[in-house]
């Protein structure tokens, strides 16, 4: 990877730096920060779009649902997207593995889990550094100068991004890619410990899906719908879009039944009021 390519990846990583992305929540965090979108951008920079997207898919699956309640995160996607994807791509190429193969999928899953969890330090680091800018902001606000607010909110955090996104991402991509190439050149997928690592990569996506499952399941009986979807795809071979249609049917039925219940309750509620009046 050339220094210029590493710098470009470093720059994009600032726009997508997790929750604190310098392009904001919708475009930064929820678009450019998603591994699937990032894999396309990294692919453009590295000159192999479809190869990088193939690496990006397992990385996206690993962290498909990432809710950050109260600012606690389980993973930093900027690290997955802009450190994990380029390095995994370089590694897979050096090892001569086809990016579309199962081995590449499993390798990318492991790297995704690793970079995501280690990358959390970048998230907390950026949030800590932003405290400096906010303190500058409060000091100026005490003097009645509120024009500072825009600068604190939009401009000063760019310094945090330079230190905690641009520098680490660029350096890791530039120097890391050489090291990764060296290691992967001699990678033999039939050795027992490499096999074991690939096996880890095949099991870890189950955790990613379980995180998502937890966000949609409120009570244990909801698992029946999960099982329905599972059987639709596993036993009946439906694609995701086709399963979405079946899910939509159940959603509509559920909505209509709940509305009927609400209407009935309204009627019932009125009846109770009448009864109470009679008691009086």
């Amino acid at each position: 990877m050339s220094l210029f390519q590493a710098i470009l990846i470093g720059l994009v990583s600032c726009t997508a730096a997790s929750t604190i992305a310098c392009l904001g929540t919708t475009v930064g965090n929820y678009t450019l920060n998603r591994p699937l979108v990032a894999s396309m951008i990294v692919g453009i920079i590295l000159g192999d779009v479809s190869g990088c997207i193939l690496i990006g898919i397992p990385m996206q699956v690993m962290w498909i649902a990432l809710v950050t309640p109260g600012g606690t995160v389980a993973s930093d996607l900027r690290a997955v997207s802009y450190i994990g994807i380029p390095l995994a791509y370089v590694g897979v190429k050096a090892a001569g593995i086809d990016p579309a193969s199962d081995e590449a999928f499993q390798l990318a899953s492991s790297i995704s889990a690793m970079t995501g969890t280690i990358g959390i330090t970048l998230f907390y680091g950026t949030a800590m550094m932003n405290l400096i800018w906010q303190h500058i902001g409060w000091a100026k606000l005490d003097k009645g100068d509120f024009e500072i607010v825009g600068k604190v909110d939009a401009l000063m955090p760019l310094i945090s991004h330079f230190c905690l996104s641009f520098l680490p991402v660029t350096l890791l991509c530039y120097f890391g890619s050489g090291a990764v190439e060296e290691v992967f050149k001699t990678l033999d997928v039939s050795v027992w410990y490499v096999k074991a690592l690939l096996c880890v990569g095949s099991v870890l996506p189950a955790v990613g899906i379980a995180i998502l499952l937890k966000s949609v399941v409120n009570k244990t009986s909801d698992l029946v719908f999960f099982l329905l979807g599972f059987v639709l795809a596993a036993a009946m071979g439906l694609t995701l879009l086709a399963a979405t249609v079946v899910g939509g049917v159940f959603a509509l039925i559920n909505y209509q039944m709940t509305m009927i219940k609400i209407e009935a309750n309204k009627g019932g509620g009125a009846a109770v009021v009448v009864e109470e009046e009679e008691d009086i």
Partner: protein, 271 residues
């Protein structure tokens, strides 16, 4: 009668849309983004710099919610601020911050479960399907559909918040909205099941016996005959159970699964 112009409302909206989390810290979270969004409104409603600075102090209070659905709160406070500038009674710092504090918790819950926990994963799921084989259609589909629908939704709830005030929240937490939300989540449950079966593939290389012709009988083939991909299903449900019922953090579950997979592979049970 003072009235906030369309232009000022738009500038407030775009400032929040862009800057709600750009200066996030664990101490103040979205407070600076909120103040920045309120400044154009205060500047238009109050003539003197002193008054603008004084009114801005209302928004010094801590604020944090799911920022996209949270657009409605900014809209509601824009409406309240307009009423306060027109001398409406009973609208003071305490009242405005009471409303803000009362809304941020429930809205964060709805936004996290519906937008971040259901809508985005569904879109990404479809996009991953479209990206199969390394096609750019997947990412482009996600970029276009997500940004248009999400920005439209944010503008919609912001405008509703401004025009309807506090009662706008009924749109999001009322009976009908709750029924709608719960139904979408049912669809989400089905889709997550399909995702698990399409993307996760956990297998065992165990040989359980040799048949009469001397060929190996594989456990995986037998399992698939009874319930396709049952091993995958059990792992996903186990990971869910650890998080939901045992309260383990995702990182602990990740570590545990890595150990199980590594040991399982070395023993020849998994992989």
């Amino acid at each position: 009668m003072k009235k906030i112009s369309k232009k000022t409302l738009n500038s407030s909206f775009w400032r929040w849309w862009y800057g709600n989390l750009t200066c996030f810290s664990h101490e103040h979270m979205q407070t600076f983004g909120y103040m920045w969004a309120m400044i154009p409104i205060l500047k238009e409603l109050y003539p003197t710099h002193e008054e603008q600075a004084e009114k801005l102090q209302t928004y010094y209070a801590f604020f944090n919610t799911e920022p996209q659905i949270g657009c409605i709160v900014v809209g509601v406070t824009a409406g309240l601020e307009e009423a306060r500038a027109n001398g409406a009674e009973g609208i003071d710092d305490e009242m405005i911050n009471g409303i803000r504090a009362g809304l941020m918790g429930p809205l964060a819950g709805i936004g996290d479960s519906l937008i971040v926990g259901t809508y985005i994963p569904i879109l990404l799921g479809i996009a991953v399907g479209l990206a199969e084989g390394g096609s750019v259609i997947g990412p482009i589909f996600y970029i276009v559909v997500w940004n248009i629908t999400s920005t439209w939704f944010q503008k919609f709830v912001f405008d509703k918040g401004y025009s309807l005030g506090g009662s706008a929240v009924e749109l999001l937490v009322g009976e009908k909205a709750t029924a709608f939300r719960e139904s979408v989540i049912v669809m989400g449950q089905v889709i997550v099941g399909a995702m698990a079966a399409s993307w996760v593939n956990i297998t065992t290389p165990l040989q359980i016996a040799t048949n009469s012709e001397g060929e190996p009988v594989m456990l995986q083939a037998n399992l698939d005959g009874a319930f396709p991909k049952i091993l995958t299903m059990l792992f996903v449900v186990f990971c869910w159970w650890l998080q939901a019922k045992k309260g383990l953090t995702p990182i602990k579950v990740l570590l545990l699964m890595a150990v199980i997979a590594f040991v399982g592979s070395v023993l020849g049970i998994l992989g």
